[in-house]
Subunit: 99 residues, 2 copies
């Protein structure tokens, strides 16, 4: 499997981020085709107490890189991706990893 | 649940990293008490083709923050943590996130 990992920097308005993420973004992600597993949540801290590098993290698992690519190119994937600009005021970094 | 997320920067000697990770580090991680799920793999790239921010990524899931803390404080957790210095020549960043 492979996963798309999205890390979000600290937003300008955390409650607004949280509200948009839960009520608008999650439903868009859940419509993405080929999605096998979805996990998202706040970064709580670091083991040594140093500042956490991100505010929030999401992961989307797919059976293969081909499935991930097709998902991101789909209308649903494009809609979810476009929505990121609506709430990720602290930026979003995406990477693809083996899973 | 919560997860410990470990991101590794590009090592000086990738084959040596891979070999040590698979043959030594994975067995140490698998001995950590309370561990519910473990996933580790290479960062393959980014959706837009920009350079990947990390070389490798691992995640360890636990039922609760208390379980994670106990696991990291255990002899097995300490042994796995100490081993990171033996292969993570590109550095390792740890964070704890909701899962």
């Amino acid at each position: 499997m492979v996963k798309l990992v999205v890390t979000y920097g600290a937003p300008d308005d955390p409650p607004a981020f949280d509200q948009h993420y839960a009520s608008t973004h999650v439903p868009l992600v859940e419509k993405i085709p080929n999605l096998r597993r979805f996990e998202a949540g706040k970064v709580l801290g670091t083991p040594d107490g140093s500042p956490a590098p991100f505010y929030f993290m999401a992961e989307l698992w797919f059976d293969s890189a081909q499935d991930l690519e097709a998902a991101m190119g789909s209308a649903e994937g494009q809609a979810a991706g476009a929505d990121v600009g609506n709430f990720a005021t602290g930026g979003a970094t995406l990477m693809i990893a083996e899973a």
